[in-house]
Structure formats: C-alpha cells, structure tokens
Amino acid sequence: METIINYIENLFRNYPDTPRVRKAREELLAIMEDKYHELKSQGKSENEAIGVVISEFGNMDEIALELGEDGNTSKENSGGYEEVYPMNTDQAKEFVSWKISFGYFIALGVALCILSPVTACILDAFSEAGILSSRFTDMAGGVALFCMVACGVAIFIIKGIADDGRVEKIKGKKISLDNAGRDYMEREKNAYMPKFGAFVAIGVGLCILSVVPGLIAEEVVGGTKLFWIEDIAGTLLFIMVACGVACFITAGTRKEAYDVVLGLKKIHEPKKKNKVMEMVSSIYWLFITFIYLAWSLLGSAWGISWVIWPLSGIIFGIVSVVVKAVTETGR
C-alpha cells in the first residue's frame, strides 16, 4: 500500500494544494485502496496487487481539467470534451419563453436610456418658444433624464440578479436537447427567421431615417420664429433610434434563444481571461481617473478636462494590443 501512496504523491507533486486537487487525490486513492485490498483478499501477492492497481490507474491528463489546469492542451487529451447540459422539450420551451421576455425587458431598459434626453429637449423647445421659463425647464429636464436612466439601469440590475441562477446552470455549456424538442425548436426557429429579418430591416431603417425629421424641420422652420419646432423634431431622432434598437434586441434575443437550445450557441461562453491585461487595465483607468480629477480640480479645468476620456480610450486600445502581443507570444 505504501508504494501506491507514494505513486499518487509523486503524480500530484506538481499540482498546487487546492481543495479540488486534495479531493481528487483522496478520491483516487480511496478507489485504489479498495481495489488493492480486494486483490489481496483474493490471494494476490503484494507485488501483483500493486501492479494491477497502478496499471489500471489511467492518465493524469484526463483529470487535468478537474485539477484546474488551463484547459488548452488537456481538453484535447480528454477527447475534446464539451460540457453538456441535457434538456427536454418542456425545459427548452420554458427557456425560450423566458429568454423572449428577458429580451423585452432589456429592450425596455435600453429604450429608456436612449429616450432619457427627450423630456429635456421638449421642455427646452417650450422655453425657447417662451412658454416656460428656462430655469424650470433645465431643472425638470435634468430630473427626467436621470429618472429615466435610473429606471433603465434598475431593470438591467433587477433582471440580471433575478435570473442569475438560471443562466449560471447552463453558462458555457452546450445544450443537448431531446429529439422531439430539437424538431420542435427547429420548426419554431425556421418560422421565426423571416420575422427576424423584417425586425432587423425595420431597426436599421429607423436608425438611418432618424436624422430625417431634424433635417426637414431645419429646412422648413430654421431661422423663422418657429425655430423651436426643430427641437421637437430632433426628439424624433431619439424616439426612432429607441424603437430601432428595441427591434434589434427583441429579435436578436429570440433568435439567440433558439440557437442556444439547439446547441448552436452557448450562453455566456467564458472568455479566456488575460490576467496581465486585467491588471494593466485596472491600474490604467484608476490612473486616468486620478489625472482627470487632479487636472479638473487643481487647474479648475472642468470645461476642457473631459478630452482626457476619448484620448485615453484611444491610448488604451494601443496599450491593450501591445500587452496582448507581449503576453501571448511569451507562452
């Protein structure tokens, strides 16, 4: 038995002492020990028993995934194993209808955010037309803007948290649907695809046409006493974009739902994280925020200091390319 324990200790020597590694070592040893005792009780000699147990142990590559190694090479060794989540027809139907309603909520949240400046624009038009005082309209418009953004963000957060468990179960897994469910979902998806195309076309059309009302208004009332109508027409831009984006989102999530249950797409596939990149970016943005605040406060430069954001965004793009190149060639 000593030999078997030593054998296992040796195999695990290069692994970190994490709970997962400890559990694997214990479980494997337990099976080997049981097998060893059984062989001995059948009258096998010490050497024979050890020989059989070790020859039937297998290959550490197979459990490399469980030990938390980077999946790159070990995945191939264990036969390209994909994590599979089995689903029956009812579960799939339930998932699709949940995902569709989820899409409506997200579309509503995004629309609220896009529409948030509309109240301010309309009130601004009234103040320019001399109907309302600008002090009132500025304040009310600002309040309305923040309220709408807050509602939109609240929807994202509440929906995100409420449905976290559901997504967590199937995250990054390939869904394996039973045959009846597969047939059903393929029919549903095929039936939906023309509508999907129509929604995307309508969405694109609305986004492109959104500038038209403003242009027309400028042509017709620009420079006249009714110039404030331009502002009202301008709000149509937000409204049309919001409707267009809502089309994309609802159609996109519904199509995604079908693709997920049909196993064509995984939900929230975990991206390979670049640890160095994460560290660099957190330090970088902290540093930029510090410069922004220092410059603005000490130099009273609130009017101009915002340029730091677009500039540092571009610089960050360059930095991330360099960091990725350096870290990934080093592997």
Binding site: L28, A30, I31, E83, P86, M87
Partner: protein, 106 residues
C-alpha cells in the same frame, strides 16, 4: 479488452446506469463495470474520477458521504432527475450510433 478511445462517449451512460440502480461509490462502480463486462472493459481510475466530477458539475449526479466503514468515509453518488433525463438521451443516442456503425460492419 476494449479501447478506452472507442467507449469514451459512453462512460457517462455506463456510470449513470449503475447509480440509477442504487447509490454507489468509486470502487463499487469500477468493480461492477469489470464484472458485468466480464473483464472486457476495465475503467481507469482517472476516467472514472473525471466522469464523476463532470457529471456532478452538470447536475446529473449528487455526491454524499456514506456511513463510516473501517474508519473510512466513502463518497457515494446518487442520480438526479437531470441525470435520468441525460441517461435516457444517451441511450437513444446509442441506439442510433449502433445502427450507423452496423451499416459499416463486415
């Protein structure tokens, strides 16, 4: 003896079949596989362990500690509803695979 490559896709099904009968632990499952196949398939310990962790992560089986025997506490596994469904799915898949492979058997 069967090659472990050939049977890889069905280790999960074999294990689920055995825990479907009754909750069981590592060696008991390994022994049952060997005995029922009359030694034609001996599952490697690492194959067995990786299947356990994967099945548990997918919610197909649940592990729990059994009663202490000879000062040892064994980890037992029992099947879940998800596991039953997955098992049935794998059985259907096997029926199809068998038909396909048979078309090309001499």
């Amino acid at each position: 003896m069967i090659s472990s490559d050939g049977i890889r896709g069905y280790n999960d099904m074999i294990i689920l079949h055995l825990v479907l009968e009754k909750p069981s632990y590592g060696y008991e499952i390994s022994k049952a596989i060997k005995e029922r196949t009359e030694g034609a398939y001996i599952i490697k310990e690492t194959t067995l362990y990786s299947a356990f962790t994967r099945l548990e992560k997918n919610g197909c089986i649940q592990s729990f500690y059994g009663n202490e025997t000879n000062g040892k506490r064994r980890t037992y596994y029992r099947i879940t509803e998800t596991g039953r469904e997955y098992y049935r799915e794998k059985c259907r898949e096997w029926e199809l695979t068998k038909k396909v492979v048979e078309k090309f058997t001499a």
